[in-house]
C-alpha cells in the first residue's frame, strides 16, 4: 500500500479523487487537505510517499507547495488539474505523473503502475522546484504571504522560525534550510538568515566572527563558519 495524501481546494473534486484512489486498492489515503499550508503540516506529520496535488489552489498553488517542502520529506508527486494550460509536458521532469480532471479509473491505473515502479527502484523524488517568491506566515488565523524581498532577516528559537520585516515578526512553518535553499536569504549563523539587500554594514570582530548591522539597525551575529561563505556570496 502506498501512503498517499490528496490535496485539492474543491470539496467535490477531493471526494471524487479519494474514492477513485481508494478503488484502485493500491493506496492508503492518509487524508485530504484543502490548501498548501495544511498540506505542509500533514506532510511533516504523516510523511506520505505520494501526493495527488491540484495545481490551481487559492493563495499558494501546487508548485509553490513543492517549493516549501524540505528535500528529505519530499514525496513523489502526481499533479491533478482540470486543463493543462500549464503545458504539463514542459515540466514532466518536475513531477512523476499528471492526471486530468475528470479522472478516469483506467488512466489512474497507469499512474499506479508508474508509482509502484518508481518506488520499487527506490529513487528518492528529486523535483526541480521553483524559488519561493512568497513566504507563507501565520498571522492571527490567516495566512499572510510575505514577499521574500521584504524580509529583513529570519531567526529560529525554541518556538519556531520567525521572519522579521519592517512591519514586524511573523511565524512561518518553513524551515531555515528550505528558506536558505529556495529564497535569496543567506545563512549568517546557525540560527539566522539575512537578506543580503538589507545589510547596512558588516563589522569584523577580533575572534574571527562578525556582526551585521541591518538597514533597520538590527544587529545579527555572524559565525566564523558562515562568514567565509557570506564573503564569497557577497563577493567581498
Amino acid at each position: 500500500m502506498i501512503r498517499a495524501l490528496i490535496i485539492d481546494d474543491e470539496q467535490h473534486a477531493r471526494e471524487e479523487l479519494e474514492l477513485l484512489v481508494e478503488e484502485t486498492g493500491a493506496f492508503e489515503v492518509l487524508g485530504s487537505c484543502t490548501n498548501a499550508i495544511d498540506a505542509l503540516r500533514r506532510i511533516r506529520t504523516e510523511k506520505p510517499e505520494l501526493l495527488f496535488l491540484d495545481i490551481q489552489m487559492p493563495a499558494l498553488n501546487g508548485f509553490e507547495l513543492l517549493a516549501m517542502i524540505e528535500d528529505e520529506l519530499m514525496p513523489h508527486v502526481v499533479f491533478v488539474t482540470a486543463y493543462d494550460e500549464h503545458a504539463l509536458k514542459a515540466f514532466e521532469e518536475k513531477t512523476l505523473d499528471y492526471l486530468l480532471k475528470p479522472v478516469s479509473p483506467e488512466r489512474l491505473l497507469k499512474t499506479v503502475n508508474k508509482v509502484r515502479e518508481t518506488i520499487r527502484r527506490g529513487e528518492p523524488p528529486r523535483y526541480q522546484v521553483e524559488p519561493l517568491r512568497h513566504i507563507p506566515c501565520q498571522f492571527a488565523n490567516r495566512v499572510k504571504l510575505i514577499p521574500a524581498a521584504d524580509v529583513e532577516y529570519v531567526f529560529s528559537d525554541l518556538a519556531g522560525i520567525h521572519l522579521v520585516t519592517s512591519e514586524g515578526q511573523f511565524f512561518t512553518e518553513l524551515t531555515l534550510k528550505v528558506l536558505e535553499e529556495r529564497t535569496p536569504l543567506l545563512r549568517c549563523q546557525r540560527q539566522y538568515l539575512i537578506n543580503p539587500d538589507m545589510i547596512d554594514e558588516i563589522k569584523l570582530l577580533d575572534n574571527g566572527s562578525a556582526e551585521i548591522k541591518t538597514q533597520l539597525d538590527h544587529v545579527l551575529p555572524v559565525s566564523r563558519r558562515y562568514l567565509r561563505q557570506l564573503k564569497i556570496r557577497l563577493k567581498l
Binding site: E10, L19, P58, A59, A82
Partner: protein, 565 residues
C-alpha cells in the same frame, strides 16, 4: 508756387503707372512676406525703372532737375530692405549722374542715400516686430520727407558753386519734398488697398471652403453611397456656384446635380474619357473649355463645356471621383479648380478614417464573437468533474447542473443577436454561477442587487460574462474561504451603472492591462457610446475589486451602425 503743382502732376503720372503695376502679377511680390532672391530681382528692376522715370519726368530748373526720383528709391528700401534700397538708389543715381549738370554728383549720392534710408526704416520696423507698418502711408511719407530733406542738405554740401546750389535749393526744396512725400504715401496706400482686396477675396474663398467641408464631411462620415453622394453634390454646387457637380464610384455615377442633369443620371456608368482617365491613372484631369473641350458622349445639346475630375482615393487606391462642370458659356475659374482638388483630398482623408474606424469596430466584434464561442476549458472540465462527484451523492442535483451547463453552452453558441436585454444577460450568467456555486460550495456567495426597471435595458451581448468570470477566476477561486460576489445594476446621475464586485482584491491592474475579454467589452462600449463610457476597475488589495460598467441611461439602445455592420 507753380513748381509744386507741376511736380505733383508728374507724380500723378507715376501714380497711374504704379496703379497699373499694382494690378499686375508682380503685386504678388508685395505681400509683405519674406522675399525670395528672384522676387528681389524683379522688384529691383521695377523700382529702378520707377526711379529713372522720376528723373525723366522731372522739370529742368536752373541747370538741375526737379524730380520725383526719390519715390522709387525710398519705397524699394522700405519694401525690400537696405540692400534693395541701396541698389535701386545707386542705379537711379548713376543714371542721373550720366545726365550731367552741376548737381549730377550730389544728386547721385543723395539718391543712393535715400534708398538706404528706406532700407533703414525697413530694418528698424522689422526688428521691432512691426513689419505691417511698412505699408502704412504715414511711414512712407515720413521716410521720404526725411530722405528729401537729406537730399537738399547733400546738394548744399556737395554741389559747387555753392551760390548756385543755395539758389537751386531755395526753388526746389519745398516742391520736391512735398511732391515726393505725397507721392510715396499715395503709392503705398494703393498697394495696401490692393492687398486688402486680395485678403478679402482669400478670406471669402477660405470661408466658402470651410462651409463646404463642414457641411459635407458629416455626410461623408455616414459612408460613401448614392444617398450621401446626392447630399454632397448639392452642397458643393450651391456653395461653389459651378454649373454641375457629380460624384462617381469606380464604375457608375452616384449622384449628379446641375446643368445637363436631364441626361446625366445617377446609376449611369462612367462614360466620359476624362473621368475614366482620372480613375485609371489616379490623377486630376482638367478640360478647361478652350484648349480641351468637354464633349458629352450622351447628348449633342449638352451645355457642359469644361470639366475638372479629381480622383478620391483611400490607401493609394482610387475609389471614385468628384467632377465639377461649367457650361460652354462660362470660364472654369482657377479658384474652383484648386477648390475641387482640395476638397477631394479632404474627402480621401475622411474616407480613409471611416474605413479605419470600420475595421477597428469589425475587429472588436469578431474578436468578441471568437471569445464568446470559445469554450473556457477550465470551466468546462471543472464543471464536469464536480458533476461527476455529485452524481454519486445526489442524482437530482447532478441533473440540474447538467441542465445549467447545457443552457450555458447553448446560449453561448447560438447568440446571434448583438443586443440583448439585461435580463437575458443575467439569465445567461446565472447558469454559469449555479455551476460555480456547486463547485466552490460554501466558499462562494453571490448577491444580486438589480434595479427591476433596468431589466429591459438593452446592452451589447456578452457584456457581463467576462466580468463575472474574472470575479470568480481571480477573485473567489483565490480565496481560502468566504468568497463573495456582488452584481449590481442601478441608475445614478443620468447614468446606468452595472457593477461586479468581489472581496478578494486580486486583480489590481489598470484597464489596458486587463484580460482580453475585459478589454474587448470596454472597447465595444466605447465604440458604441463614446469614450466617456466603458469599464473602470477599482481595487483595494486583499479587500475588494470593483469593476464598474458605465452606460448612458437612454432606454433604447440605438440600433447603432457600429454593431450591425
Amino acid at each position: 508756387m507753380p513748381l509744386v503743382f507741376q511736380l505733383l502732376q508728374q507724380t500723378a503720372v507715376i501714380i497711374v503707372i504704379a496703379y497699373l503695376f499694382s494690378k499686375s502679377p508682380a503685386m504678388d511680390y508685395l505681400t509683405g512676406a519674406k522675399l525670395q532672391r528672384r522676387q528681389l530681382l524683379v522688384l529691383y528692376v521695377v523700382f529702378s525703372l520707377f526711379s529713372i522715370l522720376g528723373t525723366y519726368a522731372g522739370l529742368p530748373v536752373q541747370g538741375a532737375i526737379a524730380n520725383t526720383r526719390a519715390i522709387g528709391a525710398v519705397l524699394a528700401g522700405l519694401i525690400g530692405g537696405p540692400v534693395l534700397g541701396l541698389s535701386v538708389g545707386l542705379t537711379a543715381g548713376l543714371h542721373r549722374f550720366s545726365l550731367g549738370g552741376f548737381t549730377a554728383f550730389s544728386c547721385s549720392v543723395s539718391t543712393t542715400v535715400e534708398g538706404l534710408i528706406g532700407g533703414l526704416v525697413y530694418l528698424y520696423l522689422v526688428r521691432r516686430k512691426k513689419p505691417e507698418q511698412l505699408f502704412h502711408p504715414f511711414v512712407a511719407f515720413s521716410a521720404t520727407l526725411i530722405a528729401e530733406v537729406l537730399q537738399m542738405s547733400i546738394i548744399l554740401a556737395l554741389a559747387r558753386p555753392f551760390g548756385d546750389a543755395v539758389a537751386l535749393v531755395k526753388v526746389i526744396a519745398v516742391p520736391m519734398i512735398c511732391a515726393n512725400s505725397v507721392g510715396a504715401a499715395l503709392f503705398i496706400s494703393m498697394i495696401r488697398d490692393q492687398k486688402r482686396v486680395r485678403d478679402k477675396v482669400g478670406a471669402r474663398f477660405s470661408s466658402k471652403a470651410f462651409t463646404v467641408a463642414d457641411r459635407t464631411l458629416g455626410i461623408l462620415s455616414q459612408g460613401f453611397s448614392p444617398e450621401t453622394a446626392r447630399e454632397m453634390v448639392e452642397v458643393i454646387r450651391q456653395e461653389t456656384g459651378v454649373g454641375a457637380v457629380a460624384m462617381t464610384d469606380r464604375k457608375e455615377i452616384l449622384a449628379f446635380s446641375g446643368i445637363g442633369a436631364d441626361h446625366h443620371h445617377a446609376g449611369n456608368p462612367v462614360v466620359t474619357k476624362w473621368s475614366k482617365q482620372a480613375l485609371r491613372e489616379n490623377k486630376v484631369v482638367f478640360a478647361n473649355g478652350y484648349d480641351d473641350h468637354f464633349q458629352c458622349p450622351l447628348a449633342e445639346h449638352c451645355p457642359i463645356g469644361s470639366v475638372l475630375v479629381v480622383p478620391l482615393q483611400v490607401d493609394q487606391e482610387v475609389v471614385g471621383t468628384i467632377s465639377l462642370y461649367e457650361p460652354k458659356t462660362k470660364l472654369f475659374l482657377n479658384i474652383n479648380r484648386s477648390f475641387g482638388e482640395g476638397l477631394a483630398t479632404l474627402y480621401s482623408h475622411q474616407l480613409l478614417r471611416s474605413r479605419y474606424e470600420e475595421q477597428k469596430t469589425l475587429l472588436v466584434q469578431s474578436e468578441l464573437k471568437l471569445l464568446q464561442a470559445q469554450v473556457n476549458p477550465h470551466f468546462l472540465f471543472n464543471a464536469l468533474n464536480t458533476i461527476m462527484a455529485i452524481v454519486r451523492k445526489d442524482a437530482d442535483q447532478a441533473r440540474e447542473l447538467l441542465m445549467q451547463l447545457s443552457n450555458f453552452f447553448r446560449t453561448n453558441l447560438k447568440r446571434k443577436k448583438d443586443i440583448v436585454t439585461l435580463e437575458e444577460e443575467l439569465v445567461h450568467i446565472s447558469s454559469y454561477l449555479e455551476i460555480e456555486k456547486a463547485r466552490f460550495g460554501e466558499r462562494l456567495t453571490v448577491n444580486q442587487e438589480i434595479d427591476p426597471t433596468l431589466l429591459t435595458l438593452q446592452i451589447p451581448v456578452f457584456t457581463l460574462q467576462p466580468l463575472i468570470e474574472n470575479a470568480i477566476k481571480h477573485g473567489v477561486a483565490d480565496l481560502l474561504d468566504h468568497g463573495q460576489v456582488w452584481i449590481r445594476a442601478y441608475r445614478k446621475q443620468g447614468l446606468v451603472l452595472i457593477e461586479v464586485e468581489d472581496n478578494a482584491g486580486n486583480y489590481c491592474k489598470p484597464m489596458d492591462t486587463q484580460g482580453l475579454g475585459m478589454r474587448l467589452v470596454d472597447q465595444r462600449i466605447k465604440n458604441i457610446y463614446g469614450d466617456e463610457f466603458g469599464l473602470t476597475v477599482d481595487c483595494e488589495p486583499q479587500r475588494k475589486t470593483l469593476v464598474q460598467l458605465k452606460l448612458p441611461a437612454s432606454e433604447e439602445l440605438k440600433n447603432d451602425s457600429c454593431i450591425n455592420h
